[in-house]
């Protein structure tokens, strides 16, 4: 068995003294693991940092074997991410969430493209939190828990949307919410593509996506807790917003 693809490195684990098990996200083969011999060596270790874009060749005797990777670097992103606290925390959140929710060997080319675009924006520190929020919405959509913010679930109105149903993920107007308003999630304008997309508002919007990630997506994956890296990113962004 053999294939060649590009991929984003999500994480590594040591294998023996000098080998690494790579966990990568590829457009054609989804999330895929494989061993890189000598991956922990001084020559290869710097390029095998999470977020790196790699040219991958995978080989195995049988399809269900873990197999081995030959990995050539295309773009390193860790150094760019490390230059700013928010983007470093963001890179951790992206790789941790993908590792958390993607099944192995199931292609998600749309989500892959969104992820590659997001990671290529790591040097745009001011734009990145908004790009991350859009990516999380895309992740929910891809996993089958997308939000429908196009019109009110009660009245059908497309204007004056102020809340989100925590169950259906559909938008609701204030009038439509009525006495149920305090049981609904607030809908920040940034989720509708309006407003200045300040960090504070993005944090509020991440609270909404976080609800669906933890109560719907994580619940469907055996009720595991969301990766701590996501909470750390939101906390980091919140801290930046308060300054």
């Amino acid at each position: 068995m053999e294939w060649r693809d590009t991929g984003i490195l999500l994480g590594t684990r040591k294998h023996g003294e000098s080998g690494l098990i790579l966990d990568v996200f590829t457009p054609g083969h989804g999330r895929h693991a494989g061993i890189v011999r000598g991956g922990a060596s001084r020559r290869q270790a710097p390029m095998l940092q999470p977020g790196a874009q790699l040219d991958l060749a995978w080989r195995a005797r049988l399809e269900d074997h873990m197999g081995t990777f030959t990995a050539e670097p295309q773009r390193a992103r860790a150094a760019i991410a490390m230059s700013h606290r928010v983007t470093l925390a963001g890179l951790n959140a992206v790789t941790a969430l993908l590792t958390f929710c993607l099944p192995e060997r199931e292609p998600h080319p749309g989500l892959y493209r969104r992820t590659e675009t997001l990671l290529d924006l790591l040097d745009q520190v001011t734009l990145w939190p908004l790009a991350y929020l859009r990516w999380e919405l895309a992740l929910l959509e891809e996993m089958g828990f997308g939000l429908d913010l196009s019109c009110c679930a009660v009245t059908g109105a497309t204007e004056g949307l102020t809340h989100v149903s925590p169950k259906s993920g559909r938008a609701v107007t204030r009038a439509g919410a009525g006495a149920w308003a305090d049981r609904l999630l607030p809908l920040p304008e940034v989720l509708l593509g309006h407003g200045a997309a300040e960090d504070a508002e993005i944090v509020q919007a991440l609270g909404v996506t976080g609800h669906f990630l933890s109560h719907h997506l994580a619940a469907s994956l055996g009720d595991r807790p969301l990766p701590a890296a996501r909470a750390a990113f939101v906390e980091r962004l919140d801290r930046q917003a308060r300054r």
Binding site: G11, A78, L88, T99
Partner: protein
């Protein structure tokens, strides 16, 4: 007597577990030791027994020594207000090898890792926070690896110590003797971002 109970085979089996050694190289090493019994094997066995009896982690910094408080922590000359935070004892020993740093150390015992589920409570971060005031530390140098996990840990510690003490980190860039042509993109990016005026 089975081969497993043979002390020579047992020694080979144990040596083969050491980093960098396999069964064949362990066998060669054991044969060499047996041939140099008086000059090497006996003193080595005595030295290993002595280390096994006395080696322990320093209760203050996490370094490995032969007493509860290591020599570096005991030295008053090194209590100059500088505290260097490293990931592992091997990093501390590497810093000491250079002979440049004359302050004290704090060994975290790892880095935060989302993938491996290592959080702040698994590392010696609470002990670090308590040392800052107890030892009158004026500057903390974060000498952590230039990896995603290492820098995530550095930022976390920086958050905890912000406004309490001066913080610095090791520079990142072109190594001494390094040629640009052979450097990875990330190192060149870091070196360019950290360029200094001549």
């Amino acid at each position: 007597m089975s081969r497993r109970n043979d002390p020579i085979e047992a020694l080979i089996e144990l040596m083969a577990r050491l980093p960098g050694l396999g069964p064949r190289s362990a066998r060669r090493a054991v044969l060499y030791l047996i041939r140099k019994r008086a000059a090497l094997l006996v003193p080595l066995a005595a030295a290993m027994q002595a280390v096994a009896d006395s080696a322990r982690p320093c209760l203050n910094c996490g370094n490995v020594g032969t007493s509860d408080i290591c020599e570096i922590c005991q030295s008053e000359a090194r209590g100059n207000g500088l505290l260097c935070v490293v990931e592992d004892v091997a990093d501390l020993w590497a810093m000491e090898r250079s002979g440049v740093f004359r302050g004290r150390y704090h060994v975290l015992g790892g880095t935060l890792s989302a993938l491996d589920g290592v959080g702040p409570d698994e590392l010696r971060i609470p002990q670090l926070l308590s040392r800052i005031e107890a030892e009158g530390v004026s500057e903390v140098i974060l000498a952590l690896n230039a990896t995603v996990d290492g820098q995530t840990t550095a930022h976390y510690i920086a958050d905890q110590l912000e406004d309490r003490v001066a913080l610095s980190s090791l520079a990142q860039g072109v190594p001494i003797g390094g040629e640009l042509d052979y450097l990875d993109d990330g190192t060149i990016t870091a070196a360019l971002n950290a360029r200094k005026r001549l």
